[in-house]
Symmetry: C2
Subunit: 360 residues, 2 copies
C-alpha cells in the first residue's frame, strides 16, 4: 500500500526521509559493520549520536547553558512521579492547573508525595479552553507550578504562560515539542514524550535548570533521580539507544528544514487551512474556543454520532487514517504534527468538503 496520511495523536508520522535513512543504515551504520540497535552505548559510535542529538536540541531550542538535557525512559507518566519526588522539596506544596486528562493524571500522582492544589481547571466545559489565572491564585510557598502546555486530547494550548512570577514553572510539552520556538528560560523544567513530534515511543527528553537538581527525596527510585541522570549524562544505565538515534535524525531534518521558526510558519499554515474550513462548514465544527486552539491537535465533530463514525470509516478508506477522537471524548481529531505535510491537510479538507456535500 502507498504511505497514508496518518493523523494519529501519537505515536505519529515521522518524516519519510528519516525512515529512509533508518532503513538504509539498518545493517551497517556509517561503516561500523553494526546496526545502531546492536552497538554498545559506551561505544564511540553511540557517543557521537547522543552528543549530536543533545547539541541539535540545544541549537534548535536555544537552550541556555545552565540547563541540562536528559534522555529518559518511562514516558510522561514516569515524570508525573519524578517531578514531585525531585522538586517538591521545600514547603512540600505544588500547584497544578488542570487542562485535561494528562494534567489531571500528573496532579493525582503528585498527591502521593505532598500537598497538591488544583489552582484552576477547565473541566466545567470538557477542557475546551485554557483557564485564566492571576498571580494571587498561586500559593506563595509552592515549590513549583505545573502545566500541560498543549492538550493532545482536547486540542487546547497555552498562548500565554500563567503569571507565576519567580516561582518554578514546569511544563509537559509532549504534544507541541519542537513545533515552534519556546523560551526555555521561563521554565524550571520542560519535558516531552518523544512519540509525537520527535521519535518513536520509549524516550522522554527533559530540559532542567541546573540549580533545581540535587534535592530529590530519599525514597526516589534511582532511575527517577534527575541529578543522577544528569551527572551520568543520561548513561546511568543503558538508554534507549535506537530511539535516541531516530530522534537525532528527526532533529537533523528539522534543522535542514529551517529550524523552529520555519516549523512554526508551516504549522500555522496547516492549522489555518483546517480551522478555516471548520469555521465555514455547516456540518463540521471545532470544539475549542478560538483563542486557545492548538496548532497540533484539532478535535472536531458533527452533531451526529453515526455521521462521525461514517466519516472516520470513509476517511480511512481514502488513506486518511487515525482520525477517530480519543476514546474518552469521541468525535474526530486530526493531529497535524511537524511531519504531517501541508498536502496531507489539503487532502483532509478536500475530503471533508466532499463528505459534507455528499451527506447534506
Amino acid at each position: 500500500m502507498a504511505r497514508v496520511y496518518n493523523f494519529s495523536a501519537g505515536p505519529s508520522m515521522l518524516p519519510e526521509q528519516v525512515l529512509k535513512t533508518a532503513a538504509a543504515e539498518m545493517l551497517d551504520y556509517k561503516g561500523s559493520g553494526q546496526s545502531v540497535m546492536e552497538m554498545s552505548h559506551r561505544s564511540k559510535w553511540f557517543d557521537d549520536i547522543i552528543k549530536e542529538a543533545e547539541a541539535l536540541m540545544r541549537e534548535l531550542y536555544k537552550i541556555p547553558d545552565n540547563y541540562k538535557v536528559l534522555f529518559l525512559q518511562g514516558g510522561a507518566s514516569a515524570q508525573f512521579s519524578a517531578i514531585p519526588l525531585n522538586f517538591m522539596n521545600g514547603s512540600g506544596k505544588a500547584d497544578y492547573i488542570i487542562t485535561g486528562q494528562w494534567a489531571k493524571k500528573a496532579f493525582q500522582e503528585a498527591q502521593k508525595y505532598g500537598d497538591v492544589k488544583a489552582v484552576a481547571s477547565s473541566a466545567d466545559k470538557t477542557f475546551s479552553y485554557i483557564p485564566k489565572t492571576k498571580a494571587e491564585d498561586f500559593r506563595e510557598d509552592a515549590d513549583y507550578v505545573y502545566i500541560c502546555m498543549n492538550n493532545t486530547i482536547y486540542g487546547t494550548v497555552y498562548k500565554e504562560l500563567p503569571p507565576v512570577g519567580d516561582k518554578v514553572l514546569i511544563a509537559d510539552v509532549s504534544s507541541c515539542a519542537l513545533s515552534e520556538p519556546l523560551d526555555i528560560s521561563k521554565f524550571g523544567m520542560v519535558y516531552f514524550g518523544a512519540q509525537k513530534n520527535v521519535a518513536p515511543a520509549g524516550l522522554v527528553v527533559a530540559i532542567i535548570r541546573e540549580d533545581l537538581l540535587g534535592n530529590a527525596r530519599d525514597i526516589t527510585p534511582v532511575m527517577m533521580n534527575y541529578k543522577i541522570q544528569a551527572d551520568a549524562e543520561s548513561l546511568y544505565n543503558t538508554p534507549p539507544c535506537y530511539t535516541i538515534y531516530i530522534c537525532k535524525l528527526v532533529l537533523e531534518w528539522l534543522k535542514a528544514n529551517g529550524g523552529l521558526d520555519a516549523m512554526k510558519e508551516r504549522n500555522e499554515k496547516k492549522a489555518k487551512l483546517l480551522y478555516d474550513f471548520l469555521d465555514n462548514s455547516k456540518m463540521f465544527r471545532g470544539t475549542v474556543v478560538p483563542e486557545d486552539r492548538s496548532l497540533m491537535n484539532v478535535p472536531f465533530v458533527t452533531d451526529d454520532d453515526e455521521l462521525n463514525a461514517k466519516f472516520v470509516k470513509e476517511a480511512t478508506e481514502a488513506g486518511l487514517v487515525n482520525l477517530k477522537g480519543h476514546r474518552t471524548v469521541g468525535g474526530m481529531r486530526a493531529s497535524i504534527y511537524n511531519a504531517m505535510p501541508y498536502e496531507g491537510v489539503e487532502k483532509l479538507v478536500e475530503f471533508m468538503a466532499e463528505f459534507e456535500k455528499a451527506n447534506s
Copy 2:
C-alpha cells in the same frame, strides 16, 4: 564495511534476518502504509504485534497461565526499585545474594525501602564464582530472595538455584534470557533487560506470578506498580512500540530456529569451543571457576595488560569487535549471545591461536 562479529555485552548482535525484515518493513508495515514507529499503540496493527510477542514468549518459555508477562521501560535499574516497592510488603525484609555489580546495585537500591540482608557474596574473589548457600542462610520471614542469574561482567551463572524452599525467588536473567529453557514456576518473578538477547535497549520483560501482585506500597510511582501495568496489559501509557516489534521478530527467529532447546545446544557448542581453547592456551586463561561458567559471557585475560590491549586492538581490526572487558575489571570478554553464530566464535578462536603464536 562488511558486518562485523560483535562481542558486545549489550546492546549486542541481533539476527541479521531480523534487521533485514525491519529494514524492509520500515516505511510500510504489512500494507498499513505506516512504519511501526508511527502507528498508534491502540491500533489493531500494534495490538497484533504485542499480543504475538507475548504469545511467543509464553510458548518459548512455557510460561504457566498464572504468570503475567509485562513489557516495561527503564531497564533493570528501574526494577531494582520496583521490586522492593511491589514485593517488600510483608515483614519488610528481603535477602540478596551478591554475585557482582548488578546484584549489588539491586541490593543497595532495596536498602532505601526496607531491611535488606546480603546472605552471601563472592566479592572476596572478584565475583569469579557463585557462592553456595544453604536453606538456613535465608531469613524465615524474608518477603523474597533476589539473585542475578547470569553475571554479565564476571561471566558466572547459577547452574542450580539456591535452596530457598517456598520463599519467593526473584531473578534478573537479563544476560541469559531465552538462551536455554528455564522452569518459570520456580520463581515469583523473572525479568530481563531486552538489549542482550532479545531486542534493542529500552525494553524490560517481566514475568510475574499473579498472586504476588496488588500489594505495592503507597509511595510506588504509578509506572512502577506491576499490578497497574498488568491490569492495563502493558498499555497503561504508550509502550516502546518499535522495540516490542523487534522483540517479536527475534522471538519469531528463535522459534523458527528450534526454540530454546535448540538454542541451548547451539550456545553450549559455541561456549565449549571457546572454553576448550582457553583451557589449553598458554597465553590466555578464563577467569571463572569451571563449574560456574556462563554460556553467554566469557571473560579472559593474559598476564600482561599491554598484551591485552594489543589483542583487543588487533581483533577489532580483524572485524572481531567489542572484546574489551568491562571498564571495572579490564582484560577481555566475549559475549556470545543467541545471535552470535558459531562461525563468529570459530573466527575468534582462530584469531586467538594466531595471536598467541605471533606473540609467544
